[in-house]
Symmetry: C2
Subunit: 194 residues, 2 copies
């Protein structure tokens, strides 16, 4: 009964609108260009989400200042309200499973430049432990296996392990970079918008 649409899509929408006002159709294209490698949203989820956000006062329709008014059913351009910005900050501050699970990590990462350095670090580390747990679980299960596995199963395991290991190494680099940046007294990386 929270509101209808999920937090991942909500974050994606609020985050995108924070950069620039957009209408639904283009918003979806942006999102799918930004996150296309990880997930894709359909109109059937986007429009209801926009409605919900509008009803909750987190976004508002922007008056088209002498542009794109052609008549009939035109674009509805949405922009973030003050409450929407607050809500966005709130979502971006949450460093928990809801930030580092498969479905959500990409979206959270995509808006890292609006996220505090501390939170960024905790999310990256959280994701890394999540993946390492998974590696452990599969590796120990594999070690306990009595029967010989066929070549396809083995290949799938090998490829899966390798992919996850690669992501762990990627995270290691990102974490190291974050640490270096936060210890460095020079220029700040805590890119503040506004």
């Amino acid at each position: 009964m929270a509101s209808g649409q999920g937090r991942v899509l909500e974050l994606a929408v609020l985050g995108s609108l924070h950069e620039t006002p957009l209408h639904g159709y283009e918003l979806r294209k942006r999102l799918n260009a930004l996150l296309g490698m990880f997930r894709a949203f359909s109109y059937g989820s986007l429009y209801p989400c926009l409605r919900s956000l509008l009803a909750r006062g987190l976004i508002a329709e922007e008056q088209p200042a002498s542009t794109t008014i052609v008549g009939g059913r035109s674009k509805i351009v949405y922009k973030l309200t003050a409450e929407g910005k607050e809500r966005l900050q709130d979502l971006l501050t949450q460093a928990g499973p809801s930030a580092w699970e498969d479905e959500s990590f990409g979206v959270h990462f995509a808006f890292f430049r609006h996220t505090e350095a501390e939170v960024r670090l905790r999310i990256l580390e959280g994701r890394r432990s999540r993946l390492e747990e998974r590696l452990d679980a599969v590796r120990t299960a594999l070690a306990r296996t009595r029967e010989r596995l066929d070549s396809y199963t083995l290949e799938l395991q090998r490829h899966g392990l390798e992919s996850v290991e690669r992501e762990v190494r990627w995270l290691n680099e990102l974490i190291a970079t974050e640490r270096r940046a936060s210890e460095e007294p020079g220029r700040d990386t805590t890119s503040t918008d506004e």
Copy 2:
């Protein structure tokens, strides 16, 4: 109204039970060991799926021949019926989007040794085109982008592209291997069970 649970889980269950009869709890562990890098199933989906399969006559309870009968609520070991084997073959023969999308590809691949060589090839090629479409879409969208992207967004794009490109290369190798095997007049790889 098809039956309740989805085809992916159904395939995973039928495929596992084809190797050896199992009870729900262990079935889940097997599945999550086999597919743990790609997805994980919970009991809340597994048990209803088993009930549905039982009701449809695709699996049956195995009589515990003088073993593991302790009293009260014991293990319920399921085995594949003749209809279940047919259904499994049916599912394994379907080479369409339902076989090469993200959620299903891993499961289909995991049981490739029960799949005909021709179907294997079409699934691998289908997955490859799917990923290439995705690459194209994201790359052209990226090329059309006017604004400069921040470093996190760029890093996400770079990592995403690289991961997908890696999977495409992996698929290329697998496809080449399949082709070589099918042209080779020597020993067959069309591993028939039974």
